[in-house]
Each structure stands twice: as structure tokens, then as C-alpha cells.
Symmetry: C2
Subunit: 184 residues, 2 copies
């Protein structure tokens, strides 16, 4: 078993933290081997940002990034740039707050206005990353809910823990609603 | 040019954050291409933790980890485990608060009670990671001081920014003092 998850969007959307939380859920609490990576250059300032998590049941000697099994795209630019790095049978989750044109893709596509919900339902755009994690976990079972909850608890400062817990639960609920509405 | 820096210690010492700050200093503010990675398995709970930063002037297609140019070891366990992944001509920085036996190593060795200073001088053990970054930048010029200051400013929440800025400056000063006292 080896799964690769790519979380993409723009700088400031908390995708590195989301990658760390997902990796710790898998590695520390669910008992897998993980590698978590971000790579970028000077063009990253204000531009596309991505964070990758590789989850495996074998030791990952080096984290060579291959094709992703799951891609989160929070912006149009990220969606356009990274959709080709998704396996044909992969899962694409796009934030329809910002992504209006979904490139042709043969796998499963889920779309939901994640950022809009972060603002309208949770009152804070900054939890878009955690809502996204909740949706991904619900849709793909890539880590257990128990593990992602523990990893969130461990990584988020107490001051902002409550809203992030609510964001995760909200993501689970969105995922449940989406499960029967995927555009194939 | 391709440099690899390995920051090692135990979980909870803030090494992932330190890796992110160093990577953003190099990638966003100093204009290099970077990859920043952490990989571990279930044994990581309470055990050895490491975070790697690769800095290059060419695009890093995949972040294969090679031998490090610089190794920070905050614990004895991390020092024992990772010293062999350091290039012979590399730089080893150990926290002598916790590391008492330095394995045989032909390159440059610097030792300083970093955690002790975090507690005694800054009043908070949690800034050990940032003092360490200051020492590394002063000793190796791996990124510019301006870049590491900007990256710190960008990544550390306002509430704890002052103490972290002081920790970085304290690290620079320790680095200056160490520069003529390396044990070769």
C-alpha cells in the first residue's frame, strides 16, 4: 500500500499545516510510515502552493513524488497546474468558491464551496484547510477519523482548537453529503 | 549548488517548524529552489524526529534525501542515529544540554547547551529550535540573516513573535562566539 495525497492552493491557505496534520494522523496515530514534503521556489510568493503526503505500510526510504491518488485544489491555478499529476483513477476535490473550470479528468470529481463555508458557517476563512481535511478523510478513509482528530488536537494551539474541531466535523458532514453526488 | 540540512531531535522540539522557516527563508526570500521534508513511522511517538531542507539553485524535481551538509542534533539519540548521514566535510551542531557523547566525525563539530540557554536566557524551552536556527545561519551562511528574519516574522504568531526574535538574535550571537572555538 502506498498512497499519495497532494494538497494545493495558494500561499497562506494553511496547506503545509494541513499536510503535517494528515501525515501525523497516518504516521503517529494510524501506524503507517509517512513522508511529508513541500517544494517550491521564489515564484511561490503569492503563487501556487502545495504540500504532499505519502502514506505507506513500508518504510519510505526517500520521498520521491509520483502521481497522486488524491488532489485537493483550492484555487483555479493550482487545479490547472496539478490535475495532470493525479492518477486517472484518482480523486479530485475542488473548492468551487475559487475553481470554476474543472479540467478534463477521468477519475472521481467532488466539488464544494469550501472557503465559502469556512466564512459563512465557521466565521473564519483560515479553517478552509481543516474543513478540506475533514472532507478528504470522510470521502477516502485515507486515515481514521480518530487519528485525524488526535493529530488536530496535537497540532492546533488551544486558543483556536474549538473552531478547528468544528471545522473538521463540518468537513466530515460535507463529505457524507458529497458521497452520493460525485460527478464522474 | 545543492545543500542539505538535517534538523534532528525528538518530537515536540519544533523541528518541523524550524525546517519550514529555514525553507521559506531560502525559497521565498533568498530566491532558491527548496524542498522540505519530514518522514517517520509509528516509532516516532516520543522518539527521534527529523526535518530536512534541501536548498538548490536548480529546480528540485524530487526531494531524494542524500548526505547532509549540516546536521543539528538536539538529543543523544538523534546524534547517534543521524551522524552517519552527514558528509565527511559537513558541519555538526550538537546541543550539549542533552548530547554528552559525540560520535567520531571528521568534519567540523560545534557544541553548545542550546536548550539550557533557551530556559536560562529566554525563559522558555520552546525557543530551542529558533536559537538553533540562529546559530546555524551565523555559522554557515546557508541563508541570509535578512531572509531568516523575514521567514520567522511570517511564520510565528504575533503573540510569541518577540521572544522568538530574541531567540534568533541570541542564536546569531552564540554562533559568533562559536566560530573560533570549533573542535575539529
Amino acid at each position: 500500500m502506498r498512497k499519495e495525497i497532494c494538497l494545493s492552493g495558494s500561499g497562506g491557505q494553511g496547506l503545509i499545516l494541513a499536510g503535517i496534520i494528515l501525515a501525523e494522523a497516518a504516521g503517529i496515530y494510524d501506524g503507517f510510515e509517512i513522508a511529508q514534503t513541500q517544494s517550491y521556489g521564489p515564484e511561490a510568493r503569492g503563487g501556487a502552493s502545495r504540500s504532499e503526503v505519502i502514506i505507506s505500510n513500508e518504510k519510505i526510504d526517500y520521498p520521491k513524488i509520483g502521481k497522486s491518488d488524491i488532489l485537493l485544489a483550492l484555487t483555479q491555478k493550482a487545479c490547472d497546474k496539478y490535475v495532470n499529476s493525479l492518477k486517472e483513477e484518482g480523486v479530485l476535490l475542488v473548492d468551487s468558491t475559487n475553481v470554476f473550470n474543472i479540467p478534463p479528468f477521468p477519475g472521481k470529481i467532488y466539488q464544494y464551496p469550501i472557503t465559502k463555508d469556512a466564512i459563512d458557517v465557521l466565521g473564519n476563512q483560515l479553517v478552509t484547510n481543516i474543513i478540506s481535511l475533514g472532507i478528504i478523510v470522510q470521502l477516502t478513509d485515507i486515515v481514521s477519523k480518530d487519528a485525524i482528530k488526535k493529530a488536530l488536537q496535537n497540532r492546533i494551539p488551544e486558543r483556536i482548537r474549538d473552531i478547528n474541531k468544528k471545522a473538521l466535523e463540518h468537513g466530515f458532514q460535507i463529505g457524507k453529503n458529497l458521497m452520493n453526488t460525485s460527478r464522474v
